[in-house]
């Protein structure tokens, strides 16, 4: 099989996509009530849906809502503040691209950068390590992302880091927040699409207790257009038939147990801790923090981070009107926000959802209203 065949032709076949879209329409009408609301929890799923314009093919009675799956958006202000404070204190900060413009309480890393702080963007932790080796001065890697990205940080730590490399972990763990959303009293979500690459690490077995407890089906989906359409068809079938099960529609990458080698390294380095996600309140076990044996490279424990100067600025009035939290919980969509497209735009964002390329607001703004006529 050619490299082309792997993804290009097989999972982007427009004819098969049309057939699946038709099947989806039929299945949704068979549920017998409208609308049917399902949630996915992955920024890359929303990206794929938006990029391929899939929403214009979804039946109007199917609401596919993006939940808190943008790792940048749910990084809370105090966490961004820690990175900004370090940058302003003269420490070299390295992070993934999307984090640079996320507003903290008063400023983003981009703001600090334009004031002269050293903030650099990398695509992988390996690139950060290469940067650390260019001098003796300390370098702090502001590590964001869900478990799929956290395992890379863990592997790099286990393999051994240079002495001047420190990690500021803002990594998050997705399954706990699905519980929060499923438990929300206003939640009308009848099924979940689980993120395929995170499940590659964790396995789909971790959702079995979830479906039993909340009586909602979960389907694990990949990221090509056919993957997403097929997963939605299957999910709506399960909703129609009232089957509270987990189904794996991404078998080429996901197994029941997941990747044990990666899991071992993940939990060797990190332990789950409760914490606030931006706009979503407390998520038990939702944050990944470095274990005590790695204290020597934990930026929080090695550096004195002075946050007071940042908190002296009162939060802006605009920030108070931001409804990112409700958007990430699936209770509102960007169109419901008074600031969307007006005071809040990609080049002057108010909330994190407008900053990140995986933020619902940014995606909606970029790819247009989700039903481009």
């Amino acid at each position: 099989m050619s490299a082309q065949g792997l993804a290009e032709l097989k999972f982007r076949d427009t004819h098969r996509a049309s057939a699946l879209a038709a099947a989806l329409s039929r299945t949704v009408s068979e549920v017998g009530r409208a609308p049917v609301a399902v949630m996915h929890v992955c920024g890359s799923h929303e990206q794929a849906i938006a990029r391929f314009g899939l929403r214009t093919r979804f039946p109007k009675d199917l609401h596919v809502i993006m939940g808190p799956g943008c790792p940048v958006c749910i990084t809370d202000q105090p966490e961004v503040d820690e990175a900004v404070a370090l940058a302003r204190q003269g420490v070299r900060i390295v992070t993934y691209g999307d984090m640079v413009r996320v507003p903290g309480s008063a400023a983003s890393l981009a703001d600090a950068q334009s004031e002269g702080a050293r903030v650099e963007v990398v695509y992988s932790i390996d690139q950060a390590i290469a940067l650390a080796k260019t001098s003796d001065e300390p370098l702090v890697f502001f590590a964001t992302g869900f478990e799929t990205t956290a395992v890379a940080t863990a592997a790099a730590i286990v393999a051994g880091l240079p002495a001047n490399f420190f990690v500021l972990s803002a990594h998050k763990y997705i399954p706990p927040v699905m519980e929060i959303v499923a438990e929300m009293p206003d939640s009308k979500i009848e099924g979940f699409v689980a993120a395929g690459h995170a499940a590659t690490i964790t396995g789909w077995g971790i959702f079995e207790a979830f479906v039993a407890r909340h009586h909602v089906p979960v389907v694990v989906a990949g990221f090509e257009p056919l993957d997403i359409l097929a997963a939605l068809v299957r999910l709506v079938e399960l909703i129609r038939d009232r089957k509270w099960t987990v189904e794996n529609m991404f078998p080429r990458c996901v197994t029941r147990e997941g990747n044990l080698v990666a899991q071992r390294q993940l939990w060797q380095v990190f332990s789950p801790m409760g914490g606030r996600w931006r706009g979503i309140a407390h998520v038990p076990n939702g944050n990944l923090r470095l274990r005590d044996e790695w204290a020597h490279l934990d930026a929080r424990r090695v550096f004195e981070i002075d946050l007071q100067k940042l908190w002296d600025d009162a939060p802006s009035l605009l920030a108070q009107q931001c409804v990112c939290g409700d958007i990430m919980s699936g209770l509102k969509n960007p169109g419901d926000c008074a600031l969307f497209g007006a005071e809040c735009q990609p080049d002057n964002p108010v909330g994190a959802c407008m900053v990140s390329s995986e933020g619902t607001c940014r995606i909606w703004h970029e790819y247009g209203r989700q039903r481009a006529s």
Binding site: R51, F52, T56, V100
Partner: protein
Amino acid sequence: MTVATLQKVAMKHGAGGRSMRRLIEKVFLEGTTGIAAAMDDGAVIPIGDRFLIFTTDSHVIHPLVFPGGDIGRLAIAGTVNDLAMMGATEPLGLTCGVILEEGFPVEELVRVQASMRTACGEAGTSVVAGDTKVMRRGEIDGLVINTSGVGIAARVIRDRGLRPGDDIIVTGTIGDHGMAVMAVRHDFNFGEPLCSDVAPLNGMIRAALAATPDGISAMKDPTRGGVASALHEMAGKSRVGIVLDEAAVPVRATVRAAADLLGIDPLLIANEGKALLGVRPDAVDAVLAALRAHPYGGEAAVIGRCVEDSPGTIVLETGFGRRLLSEPDGELLPRIC
């Protein structure tokens, strides 16, 4: 923060997108005459019954040398192409102002100069005036070049000339230049090096214009901000909507692969050897034939059409649905999940 409250210039103000446009409108166009306000690829100054086209460009590219070219070739091609996009395909002459950092190797300067000479030869023009300045080590990064150019056009083609029903043609594969530079700048190791497309296009455009008396309604070269930025300007100024067929847009497989890896849309990536043409439907075949007969236009293709609905917006047909193509802003950043 809006431009009204802007205190300091940021990198995004030089990236060719929305922020830059707003800065120009707010700061540079205040109190200027109508000529500059058109903000086209070149200024149009009427002389008798013809038009003098005048344009300028500064080049701050880093690295100075990249697969497929260097800052010298870029400096010449950039200005020649801006003139060509206005309909002036025979430049009368270029100027070249150079600002050097103390310590810059003369050998590199000689190399850049040789590149410029070669590019001028291709374009059938020459540098007729110049200036040289040196700044202290650390006060400027290596080398900055500014080029200006003049040409005469009997008929001016403006970027606002699109009409509903016109087809949009791109003269070849997109994303080559930006991706090649990004690969070098971020030290990505690609098996097959990505190559910039930097080239003077005036010969090709001359052939296209000759193929049809008035069938080409608008032209623009998609540099910073890519095809998305250029089409937005054209659609906005022309007050038409554009529907693009994503599958029809030519992209090299390696460019698409690299862009996929970085999570960047090829439609947003800079090109330095391509042009976008708005063409009346009855002239499309002739224009395509003329482009394809030229070495720089072998992969020219129709990629969309202009419509009356939603003026200023660009709808992308993905094959799986439709979405809006928004105007890019700021520098491209690699994304993560």
